[in-house]
């Protein structure tokens, strides 16, 4: 059983994001990068499956600031291989990114074929979540997104995948392996790994570095996205803070609702 996990770095919004002077990119001065939260769940799902099925887990991530920490942490958590891909296009849109990954992944020694390819279903800089399904299509794999639990029956060559729907409804799907899954969550939060283990992984080294392959200029690759401008949302209005006793506030709330025809 082989599992490939795709992880990527996204801007860390603990620092306020600023638009750079060119008006179409983020100011890099104080920008920090953090691993995409959904990808952490993808790794956790892979490690849970590894715990149960003795799978091998390979993590692949595009080169980005602080990505080494993420890859070493993944190794410390139990990933068998950590691969950093250099030269992937950044900010060129879902189609171009998926095409670049589709061109690169098959060339990484031992990465494919994998029984399962897992990635986060979305990221804060890609809420459309199209990279994973486009990549699945390019690799000829079935795709299921917004997955919150994966159970494998490796001997039968299939996975049972759960998805959450509104109103507490769960959907269960069966998918033939190999498959690509867009992970939204998993049965438990990502595990903590003590820093001593991360430091040991750093001391041991072991991040493999691979150059991205050029994507073929096929129609499916589309035209790389060009960002024309970037701006912070303008505040259209402000919240009104109601002051006074509970009774006063309740009366004001009732008045506001009545004035808007909601009572």
């Amino acid at each position: 059983m082989k599992i490939l996990v795709m992880m990527k770095m996204v801007p860390d919004i603990v620092e306020e994001l600023e638009v750079a002077g060119d008006g179409k990119s983020l100011d890099q001065e104080y920008l920090r990068f953090i691993v995409n939260e959904r990808d952490e769940y993808a790794l956790e799902q892979a490690l849970l499956l590894k715990d149960r099925l003795q799978a091998t887990v390979t993590v692949v991530a595009p080169e980005a600031p602080e990505v080494d920490d993420v890859l070493f942490t993944a190794r410390a958590k139990g990933a068998d291989r950590a691969i950093k891909v250099t030269g992937l296009p950044v900010g060129s849109g879902a189609r171009a990114t998926a095409a670049a990954l589709a061109a690169t992944l098959p060339g990484i020694d031992g990465a494919l074929p994998a029984d399962l390819v897992l990635g986060g279903c979305q990221s804060i800089d890609d809420l459309d979540g199209f990279v994973a399904p486009l990549l699945a299509a390019a690799l000829g794999l079935p795709y299921l997104g917004l997955v919150s639990r994966v159970a494998l029956d490796a001997g039968m060559g299939k996975a049972t995948v759960s998805k959450e729907y509104a109103g507490g409804v769960m959907g269960r799907f069966e998918v033939t392996l190999p498959a690509l899954l867009g992970i939204q969550g998993c049965e438990k939060p990502p595990r903590y790994v003590p820093i001593a283990k991360v430091r040991a992984a750093i001391a041991a080294g072991g991040i493999e570095k691979v150059a991205a392959a050029a994507a073929s200029a096929s129609a499916s690759a589309g035209v790389p996205l060009e960002i024309r401008s970037m701006a912070k949302p303008e505040a259209a209005g402000h919240a009104e803070m109601l002051q006074g006793s509970a009774r006063d506030v309740a009366e004001k709330v009732a008045d506001i609702l009545a004035a808007r025809g909601l009572l």
């Binding site: 438990k188 003590p194 991360v198």
Partner: protein, 399 residues
């Protein structure tokens, strides 16, 4: 009375401890059970310190290291303080055992996990922006220089620490301290966004790798500057700088704000002119009080405030009751609640309310949120407020 001493071995491990005669001496326990009896969570722990030592000594190592029981240790120094053999349970043995426990835990409780991960990434457990570490300075009302900007040596390097730097009520403590230092004419500076958590609570909860990382980063920062001594508002940071960092080469005197101000009380006293009219009960923090026996200094400061009367709680000085926030307890409230443990801060606040005081004075930034929460939970927030000693001193200070 047990005395706090400097740790001499920087890279002590449990295996190493059990392999050396000096380490085995730490297990020369007479199994009297005083530790288990005095532990605030001794009644709910499966492996009390006594039992844990017995297991380690008899070779039940894996059994002793499996499970989350030791997360109930809030490193209150009660077992250490009362051990008739003077064994260094709280600051040496238990952290080494907890380090192994943490490595084996299948799931670290979520709040603790995020506090530790945040401390590693941002240098503070709240996950706040490192760039905003000195944001509290705005509103201090007095100049608070950054050492980087001063470009010269400074007498006192003030390590504000996380809760005083970020937590809104902690910032009151930081601003009060700044005002007092300014009034005393102290040549001081802070590190601003170069400062990171000292890491003591990470060490005591068993996250030694995180502590080592923070210590290396902080020592590298200290090495960039010239300063006479360290001052901190956080007793846990005080312990780290006084007893653990020296093993890696820190050679600077360290003061806690309370003792620093108490030693300058004669300069301060003529300025303390504003009548406060408070009836105060003082809570000895486990670290400043029980571990360092700094009981008199905060009381001397409080007694110097005009119009203040001081009353004692039943448990005071070395016999104080823990607020439950040490050794990671600050981020384990949900875990304790799920386990059915009583909140230690509730117990302390009940005792404080029983004194009839209207102010609960503290000298550790963890205690403000813990006791304020307990006052609200117990319905005592209309009768009592929690104030840091420095806040009270600053309030009495003439403009």
């Amino acid at each position: 009375m047990a005395q706090a001493t400097v740790l001499e071995m920087p890279d002590l491990t449990l295996d190493g401890l059990l392999a050396t005669p000096a380490g085995r001496a730490l297990l020369s326990c007479i199994q009297c059970g005083t530790c288990a009896g005095t532990c605030p969570y001794g009644d709910v722990m499966r492996h009390t310190p006594r039992r844990l030592i017995g297991m380690l000594r008899e070779g039940f190592i894996e059994e002793a290291l499996t499970g989350d029981d030791l997360l109930s240790c809030v490193t209150c120094y009660d077992c250490w303080s009362k051990c008739p053999r003077g064994l260094r349970l709280t600051d040496v043995l238990l952290p080494l055992v907890k380090e192994q426990v943490l490595l084996r835990l299948p799931q670290v409780p979520a709040e603790l996990q995020s506090a530790l991960a945040n401390t590693m990434r941002y240098g503070n457990p709240m996950g706040e922006s490192p760039r905003k570490r000195a944001a509290w300075v705005e509103g201090a009302g007095v100049p608070v220089p950054l050492l980087r900007d001063l470009g010269r040596p400074v007498d006192v390097l003030w390590i504000v620490e996380c809760y005083a730097a970020y937590y809104p009520r902690g910032q009151d403590n930081a601003r009060a301290t700044a005002r007092i230092l300014h009034a005393l004419g102290i040549d001081f500076a802070i590190l601003g966004n170069e400062e990171k958590c000292a890491g003591e609570c990470a060490r005591l909860v068993g996250e030694k790798g995180l502590f080592d990382t923070l210590r290396e980063q902080n020592l590298a920062t200290f090495a960039k500057y010239e300063f006479g001594s360290l001052l901190t508002s956080d007793p846990h940071a005080f312990d780290a700088f006084a007893y653990v960092y020296p093993a890696m080469g820190l050679e600077r005197p360290v003061d806690h704000t309370t003792t620093f101000l108490a030693s300058r009380l004669e300069s301060l006293r003529p300025r303390l002119t504003r009548e406060l009219g408070y009836k105060i009960t003082y809570h000895d923090s486990c670290v400043l009080g029980r571990h360092n026996h700094m009981h008199d200094q905060p009381r001397r400061l409080l007694q110097a405030l005009p119009g203040v009367s001081l009353v004692e709680m039943a448990h005071n000085r070395d016999n104080t009751i823990c607020c439950g926030g040490g050794g990671g307890g600050m981020w384990l409230d949900t875990f304790y609640k799920a386990k059915g443990h009583a909140r230690l801060s509730d117990r302390r606040v009940e005792e404080a309310l029983a004194t009839g005081a209207d102010v609960l004075a503290v000298s550790c930034p963890y205690e403000v949120p813990r006791f304020e929460d307990s006052l609200k939970v117990l319905g005592g927030d209309d009768r009592m407020v929690v104030r840091d000693v420095t806040e009270l001193v600053a309030e009495a200070l003439a403009d």
